[in-house]
Symmetry: D2
């Protein structure tokens, strides 16, 4: 059962099919000259999948304001429908990542069935200890898993265990832990004691992790804490995964690093040492801007995927990263932004597959920096849109997801059903 | 009429007075050796004043969460009382800067009288077009003064004019304009057309500016817009002030610059070209963190004041900057944070007064980089706390403002009167 | 007279001509669907030109070391030959920008004739006051145009005037002034006095500027000075151009900004206020890394050209920027790096020409941030290599400049003639 | 035997002794009020030592230019004399850190004796594989310990082993390895293979490390490589130390991090995991600026020492970091810069000792962020110069090292003996 009518998709695709066939054929000819079989690339792209975060389908906000759009989802059932639309059109997002407590429901079977009916599975669970839920006994104002008080830490541990329990029932296989813990002033906390407490708390959670699950810790340089964070970078994140054990891995959010940091190198290091758990994809110019993936620096995204394809092709040990989008949509329709971001990660993956790795290795051996660099640029410059579009088309999706989504009038339809949400100031005032 | 009982202040001061007298005397001796009259410095410090922002006395938040404290002020009258406490104890904050619409009241005379009763005047007015007020006709989701639609710009212009009108009645002499306008994606707006519209709108506001008023435009690199902002840096800010006219000046918020930028140099340039309007003081490690002034990089704060004292002493033309704190207090009692920040700007000013400017000029002429640098460091290293404390003490304030505030039990008292505020998630979810 | 044999070029082109014809035809078909005439784009690309810096053909270095390559040019005559090779193969670099004193010769007519024989003209002259020349009377250790001593400033002024004189004889029409002046420590110099002296010195140079010349001042955030520079950013640079007069413009080097700065917006502002003089193109990840243009963030380069094409198409008043490469080649053959960088600026220009500006303007009006952003991405994603290659091919250049250069064996030939240069430590030890 | 006449020191000290006694007495009184014994602090400061780098006594340079000063040391014997001057006046720098090959001599006993005669020992040895030495067989242009060619790696390994051998004869107990290896372009090298080769090479060196030695690896984000470095941050550095074994530790250079990074937290993490080897102290505003320690952000330096004193006082396991200055002096007399930098690290250490750690721990437990932060600021604000000066005075050094150095006329004396060095361009041209 499709939410977006298959007729609408077919009608829109019909407008583009001829041009696509021509472009695909010509690109196939070009790639054949480079010794690449376009159909093989297309098949790998068709199999690629990235999870959508349940919170991503609502309009985001900043500390200054939130400006909701029309038809904001009211609950996780609405959110699943929005997510289904994304997958129906892009064929790239078969799973949804939930956030507890927001996505908590009394009837988990109903949720699971809803997902199944929409063709959606459940990706990593996400706990939340960076804000206080109503009626929560202990506040996270001064931290959660690293809090100085044992009772607060215990509460945060139990929340994470609950997330695992919910996830088990839904078929999830991973827990992602990002905390806002940190400080705003030098001296506010003892770095060492905070981290000891964090590790102890994570070990308590880890004990409850089913054998076939993984736990992902996520580092972030700053925000909401503005002097220090407990899990500030990949170095600390690696120490965590190492201390916890074999089911513990590091999650990389592209926007959580210091200015100018070489992220693709961090990815390579974590792969090399068997601790890359997965990604939160997005893009950013300044900090954790949570912009649409690939919208600011598409070449950086490609360089990350270049490492991923490299690891995939050399069958790096233990390499099985989880891919998820994590964005905040303040000025666009969230469904549109997530569709194009799903497309962008597919694009970067496809470009990564085009890299002539044998030639690259040769240039590296010969210190031919220019040709090595051009080998990557050649793959990046290739307009792989025909491959992506053909994969979508053949999979029952849309050649042009955004145009088709607009043609289907989905936003207007849900706006009629879902009540308008008031905007207002953000946290600051 | 003091909110904090003079008896409490006196009792607390009594505990410290002896040590203070001794420290002041010895510092006087030290400074005399350098040819400095400590009493003269103290007098200038006593005359120094910095405005407190009305929004600063409430607990701030991030896009992730807001964790209110006890006794949050309910309205501008509560806020004025909190501000009065700050001034009573520090003697450095005789004025309050209002933010419209939050501080809008039906009876402006009552507000003015309340201020007068508390010994407080009204500093620069602040407009708000970065969030939508309830019942507002046109949304600022896509901009305000630079919005593509003329009606939205008109609404934002009228709001600013209203701020001037309110300010006139309260005795304010300046309007500060900070807008959140900008874009999240390349292409979202045309840089040039946006800036043309912004300039046109500002000119419309400027027309309504009374002759004895000044208008301050404030630049900011990013946030809430994450790809570009309309007034991104001091270069653009200077162009604005120049285009508008003689009553237009640039406002510098210490947290609104790119990483590593030399802010004191920007201050010097704006002074040199007659366009330094004033400051929003705070401190930051990453972005616009809005932390307590001087808490992260106190030497940078000193270097800014070194430029200010330099300009003051050489009587730079048109030099009369407005000083204001602008911070967000997420983990501290806002009154305490504002008191120490007021103290920190006094400290930086006092240290700036200790710079041996004749010696410095000599070293600069001789290219004696080491001694020039040490001349500044010597002033900075001087522990001027006895000067600050004596100025407060003699002015009727507290030798130790925070200890006295705590001894007075003000927070508990207002917590009893003012209802608890629920926390919750920030704009993001 | 070609340095690279036309036979070699023809032989190499023959290998690629068939594929190029096919790719060009298909791209033409694709662009036609978008309403774009590929031949018109090709013609504009063919007319595009970027200057090569004479110093760029030698191997660069860092303060840690310099590792020369083979066949390093011995003097400006050798350098011109290397530059000619670049132009012969790319057809995009018809002019050379000289650096005095390094390129100073006793017989300027011989130099001019050499250029003419090689088909090269002379672009902007570059003065050097950031290092001391042998036998120089006053050292620039503590500055040049802003130096505290009038005699040193005078020497620096006269050097710049000499550069103008040399340039006049060679047919240059512009002087680029970049100085290393600045400080390493707070207090080392007075910001205001330094800038006053700089302005005074620049005015003295400006007086000698012929009527049909322009003078470009270049800002840079840091290096070689590490606390402050006299011309630190575009704000100061704008003030300079404004103070000097109508023949004074700002030069933008892509690597001279603070981290995260939105450079394309600076470009837009300078165009809007009639002061964009030109560019030093290169790329960077950290600071003034001087890497090959487009090698690190090709989308940023495109966004800059998007502004340039926008200005060109709307015929912005006084818009006539000078384009120059400015790179340091430490690990590549400089000729190869300059050829690919020339190609990259052509590519960004071609992509800029493909932007559907009418559609973009529409999306901007409607606040359709997603489609506005995609409009730029669509142009950027187009693989315009067939256009660039066809323009080169038809202009007598190489379809694949690097492959052709290697096939011609130029580096080995000059290595036989030009003596090997010893490497060694850089400035630091 | 003193190089600086004891009479000169005594005469200069005589001018200051009276004021110092008064200041010391008053500071003692102040500290006593806080429960601190000033003499105990002074004794710990007197025992503190920081090594001086042999290369630091020569004038540095940038890639743009080098401007030598007068009396540049000609060789390691001259350098030792300059280092002796620093120690004689500051009493804080009893050891020198050598750099091979520059400090290599045929007669090591003579060098050791010279050191002994001057009262100087030998700190960590430093290898150099970031530039090519004359007659070196394999170039380091494309790397050293991570080079693709085994023979080049072997040469670099042997050079490091030679450094150990030299160090053994001189009484050193540590080897510091910093390499310039990295890339300028994406694709130039395979991150994983490069790091594998690096680890293999380091293991080969480690095998030759005497049992009572330590090896320090040093991370750096960029420069001389501008896209990636092999040992880019503390995360990679930790992996190295872990892979190598118990004698391997991480060295932290304060200028080698990304913008905004919280360095004191990295220090705390390395202490917690037993891998902090030591420091290269300096200061910076932009990148690896190598400015005088404490000259740009003295509070950051204090925060680092706050972690060090914290670890010292809680007797953290395996905590024994090596302290060394590492600066480049472009505009100051290197001896003066090193003296003041030695003083600055003493200052930060003394301030660290003044932190009321019991009170701090209490505030941390109670989430009293403001008072915790003020506890650090109180220690930092204390003008400890009387403690430092008294420690120097009582140790036979100078109350005012720079003034005494100038009074002694040392620079003029050596300028008479040591020939002037020509300046010139740096590596770039």
């Amino acid at each position: 059962m499709n939410i977006i009518s298959k007729d609408v998709i077919a009608a829109e695709n019909a407008k583009q099919a001829h041009a696509l066939a021509s472009d695909y054929a010509h690109l196939g000819e070009q790639l054949a000259r480079r010794g690449i079989d376009i159909d093989a690339v297309k098949r790998r792209v068709a199999n690629y999948a990235v999870a959508v975060p349940s919170w991503g389908v609502g309009t985001g906000g900043t500390r200054f304001a939130r400006f909701p759009g029309e038809g904001e989802p009211r609950n996780i059932f609405d959110k699943l429908e929005d997510c289904a639309v994304i997958h129906e059109l892009t064929r790239a997002t078969p799973t949804v990542s939930l956030h507890i407590p927001w996505d908590k429901v009394s009837d988990l079977s109903a949720l699971k069935e809803k997902g199944a009916a929409l063709g959606l599975g459940f990706d990593a669970m996400n706990s939340n200890t960076f804000s206080d839920a109503p009626q929560q006994e202990h506040s996270y104002k001064y931290g959660s898993l690293s809090h100085a008080n044992a009772a607060t830490r215990r509460q945060a541990i139990e929340h994470n265990i609950e997330c695992i329990e919910i996830g088990r029932k839904l078929g999830s296989k991973a827990l992602t832990v990002w905390i806002g813990d940190g400080t705003n002033f030098p001296g506010q906390a003892d770095f060492t004691r905070s981290f000891e407490r964090y590790l102890e708390a994570m070990k308590a959670i880890y004990k409850h992790l089913p054998d076939d699950w993984r736990i992902f810790s996520e580092h972030k340089m700053y925000e909401p804490a503005f002097y220090s964070t407990v899990v500030q970078d990949w170095g600390t994140n690696y120490l965590i995964a190492k201390e916890l054990g074999d089911k513990a891995y590091c999650l990389v959010d592209l926007g959580h690093h210091a200015p100018n940091v070489n992220i693709e190198m961090i990815v390579a290091r974590l792969i090399q040492f068997g601790k890359l758990g997965g990604f939160h994809f997005n893009d950013s110019k300044y900090g954790d801007d949570d912009l649409d993936t690939g919208s600011i620096d598409p070449y950086r995204l490609f360089l990350v995927f270049n490492e991923l394809v490299n690891a995939e092709e050399r069958k790096a040990e233990g390499f099985a990263p989880a891919h998820m989008l994590d964005q905040s949509h303040n000025v666009t329709d969230p469904i549109e932004s997530l569709m194009r971001s799903a497309t962008e990660v597919c694009r970067a993956y496809a470009q990564g597959l085009l890299v002539d790795r044998a030639a690259l290795a040769g240039y590296q051996e010969e210190h031919d920096a220019l040709m090595a660099s051009e080998t990557l640029k050649t793959a990046f410059r290739t307009d792989v849109e025909p491959i992506l579009a053909m994969a979508r088309h053949e999979g029952g999706g849309a050649i042009d997801p955004v145009a088709t989504y607009r043609a289907a009038g989905y936003r207007a339809k849900v706006a009629a059903d879902r009540p308008a949400v008031a905007g207002g100031s953000g946290g600051i005032v």
